[in-house]
């Protein structure tokens, strides 16, 4: 056993695949211990908040200690955030249309640009060839530019309880900073939020776990059925073999995904749990294991040790388990690994069709993909809602397949190069 493990781990492919898979598995196991929030809890208003650190504004201006930092370029960055290159270009466009010489306008020099702008801009002027929408845009831009170059701070005022008059409470200077760790309320969204306002990372970790379970259950069901049928049909032969091989051939030519669609559709939305889906996937994907196991058993059943065992009066079940199974065990393990990965892919495909597990209890990778597609995350450029999902699916199947080919090399010496 120890020698075999050493052999397996000496394969580079297996090592890479195993490390990726172990990393994913450990993340799924450890993450919920640190962040205990339920994965499907809606924690934000609005959809698709982008990844980042969210700091409570109320806390940071009112109650956290403020520090003065004198950093170079702070004002420039502040202005750049409010006045981007497009806005500068359109300001120049307006000024040129209004009759100013093009060379005199430098879009990089913010102070000079603003000066020329304030001197010349007049919202009442209608320039030729400008639509009403353009004019409104310039009026909005002009309002936004007010106070852009101001150096005094902003005043925080609270209404007086009795009179309703505003009373100055604090002044926030432009050089004021808070330490993010001293603000009582802040939240990190490493992968933003999804269309329902849920934390994508928490959801993704939970979904990965559920999808792994689905793959595992589907793989187990398929492998057990495939192994049993293959053993029986290969060893017994005759009528049983004919019957089993007939069913197997039927399932080989009819795409299993089509059978899956029909079965899951008939089960109905409210009865489809994650495990139900997994079992159904397993029930439709055992064909390959059966074919391969049967072929191997046929080549084994007339070996001397099997005949000897038969002559010794051992029962069929005993011969299958003790004399034949050890020879095909390595193959069964490899087939199981592939079944797990195709089970995860099948669930994802079903969910995109809207035939996945019902959506109220657990997320799965396929469901997350489905939500992302329905809410057009890919068209809107919200990469965090779909790309991590694709990446995780690809990494899981990639690592499982690497492990499988690594095992294949170890158990089939003919494949080594």
């Amino acid at each position: 056993m120890r020698y075999m493990l050493g052999q397996i781990f000496s394969s580079v492919r297996f090592r890479i695949g195993f490390s990726i898979f172990a990393f994913i598995l450990l993340t799924v196991l450890i993450y919920p211990l640190i962040i205990t929030e339920p994965p499907l809890k809606t924690i934000s208003r609005g959809t698709f908040l982008s990844p980042g650190i969210y700091v409570n504004v109320y806390d940071s201006i009112g109650f956290s200690p403020q520090y003065t930092l004198l950093l170079d370029g702070a004002a420039e960055r502040r202005i750049a955030a409010k006045l981007n290159a497009d806005d500068r270009a359109s300001m120049k466009e307006w000024l040129v249309k209004a009759g100013l010489p093009e060379e005199s306008i430098d879009t990089q020099d913010t102070a000079a640009l603003l000066e020329v702008w304030h001197a010349n801009f007049d919202p009442t002027i209608r320039l030729p060839g400008m639509t009403n929408a353009d004019r409104n845009y310039y009026i909005r831009l002009n309002t936004a530019l007010d106070g852009l170059l101001a150096t005094e701070g902003a005043t925080i005022a609270v209404p007086d309880a009795t009179t309703g008059a505003l009373k100055e409470q604090a002044v926030v200077d432009q050089t004021s900073y808070v330490n993010i760790y001293e603000v009582p309320n802040s939240r990190v969204f490493p992968l933003g939020t999804d269309n329902f306002g849920r934390d994508v990372l928490t959801e993704l970790v939970a979904a990965t776990g559920v999808s792994l379970i689905i793959g595992f259950v589907a793989g187990t069901v398929a492998t057990v059925i495939g192994l049993l049928l293959g053993l029986i049909s290969g060893f017994l032969g005759g009528f049983v073999d004919d019957a089993i091989i007939f069913v197997t051939n039927l399932f080989t030519v009819i795409p299993s995904f089509i059978i899956l669609i029909l079965i899951t559709f008939s089960i109905g939305q409210d009865k489809r749990g994650a495990i139900t889906i997994a079992v159904v996937i397993g029930l439709t994907s055992w064909v390959w294991t059966t074919r391969a196991v049967r072929a191997q058993v046929i080549s084994l059943r007339n070996r001397d040790h099997v005949n000897l065992s038969r002559l010794s009066g051992h029962s069929t079940a005993y011969i299958l388990m003790a004399d034949i199974f050890p020879y095909i065990a390595s193959y069964v393990v490899m087939a199981f690994i592939l079944q797990v990965s195709s089970g995860i892919l099948a669930e994802a495909g079903l969910s995109i069709l809207g035939l996945g597990p019902r959506t109220t209890e657990v997320p799965t990778l396929g469901l997350m993909m489905n939500w992302g597609m329905i809410y057009q995350a890919h068209i809107l450029g919200k990469w965090w809602a779909y790309f991590p999902v694709i990446l995780v699916i690809a990494l899981i199947t990639f690592s499982l397949n690497l492990m499988q080919t690594g095992l294949d090399r170890v158990f089939n010496p003919t494949l080594r190069e």
């Binding site: 995904f257 089509i258 069709l353 694709i390 397949n401």
Partner: protein, 302 residues
């Protein structure tokens, strides 16, 4: 089976009717039309008889269109997309795999991990990635549909061009997915053949390398054809999901609308048609195999 889809369509048709017996009459008329008033086994027999005559009945979600009408308007798109895409992907994959086995070294080192990762990407993942890069960010291709929404299908050049432009992304996403798996299979088959005794013998005889390659390629192709036949079902189902990502007007979207609308006749007819298509592909590949493999001809003439 859950839900009564006929009740839904009857309710839609009887909207605004306050007369209970009137609503009842509408409902009964529809149950009669769809045949749901009869017991399930009888419905099944009737369905089988109608299917044999090529009649799939009415679609529930797109009533009053017939299922045959819905499918015939979408099957062409799927055939036109998937057949060339899978073939091109298969040929390219085999060429790349054979090249990798022949050249080894640098080319192989880059190609192998790349195709291994490619073949593990789900088809819809590849579709989304291509869509985001080439349609949303670069804006080279449209994001969805089989042709421009503003156009009416016609035989004009503009329409053809629009179809071609919309065709590219779904086509290449299926091709790329197919290439990966085929290249890996072909590479290991070709390596196996290159080490075979007949290759060594031919080398000793001084047969030209290009001639040996031809033999090796031909021998390595045979299992690849069987592989294609056996995996065509999986490929087609992956490609159907990819069609959905691009809202391509093919069978993939037909299944999606049928699932959303609880449309039993449409779902069973679409799955039946896809199964037939796969069976047909399977059958033609078997025949092709017989033509290519001399051993089968030899076995038959004995």
């Amino acid at each position: 089976m859950p839900g009564d889809p006929v009740a839904a369509i009857a309710a839609r048709m009887a909207q605004g009717m306050s007369n209970a017996t009137g609503v009842q009459a509408v409902y009964e008329q529809y149950t009669e039309l769809f045949g749901t008033d009869k017991p399930i086994p009888e419905q099944f027999v009737i369905y089988l008889r109608n299917v044999l005559r090529g009649d799939f009945g009415y679609s529930i979600s797109q009533y009053p269109r017939t299922v045959g009408d819905v499918i015939s308007s979408s099957i062409g798109w799927t055939l036109m997309l998937q057949l060339p895409a899978i073939l091109v992907g298969w040929i390219l994959g085999n060429l790349l795999g054979a090249l990798a086995a022949y050249i080894r070294k640098g080319f192989d080192r880059v190609l192998m991990p790349a195709s291994l990762f490619l073949s593990n990407l789900p088809a819809f993942g590849m579709a989304v990635i291509l869509l985001v890069i080439f349609a949303v960010n670069l804006k080279w291709f449209p994001t969805s549909g089989g042709y421009d929404y503003a156009m009416v299908p016609s035989a004009s050049w503009e329409f053809m061009w629009s179809v071609i432009v919309h065709y590219q992304l779904p086509f290449w996403s299926i091709v790329l997915i197919t290439i990966g798996g085929q290249a890996i299979g072909m590479r290991s088959m070709a390596i196996y053949e290159l080490n075979a005794d007949y290759v060594k013998y031919a080398r000793f005889l001084g047969v030209k390398d290009s001639k040996i390659i031809r033999y090796v390629f031909r021998n390595a192709m045979l299992p690849q054809i069987t592989g294609l036949a056996l995996s065509i079902g999986t490929m087609v189902s992956g490609a159907l999901v990819a069609e959905i990502i691009f809202s391509y007007p093919g069978l993939g979207n037909t299944i999606l609308t049928a699932v959303r609308g609880g449309d039993y006749p449409l779902i069973s007819a679409t799955t039946l048609i896809i199964t037939w298509m796969v069976l047909l592909a399977f059958f033609s590949l078997e025949i092709l195999y017989g033509l290519i493999d001399p051993r089968i001809k030899a076995a038959q003439s004995e």
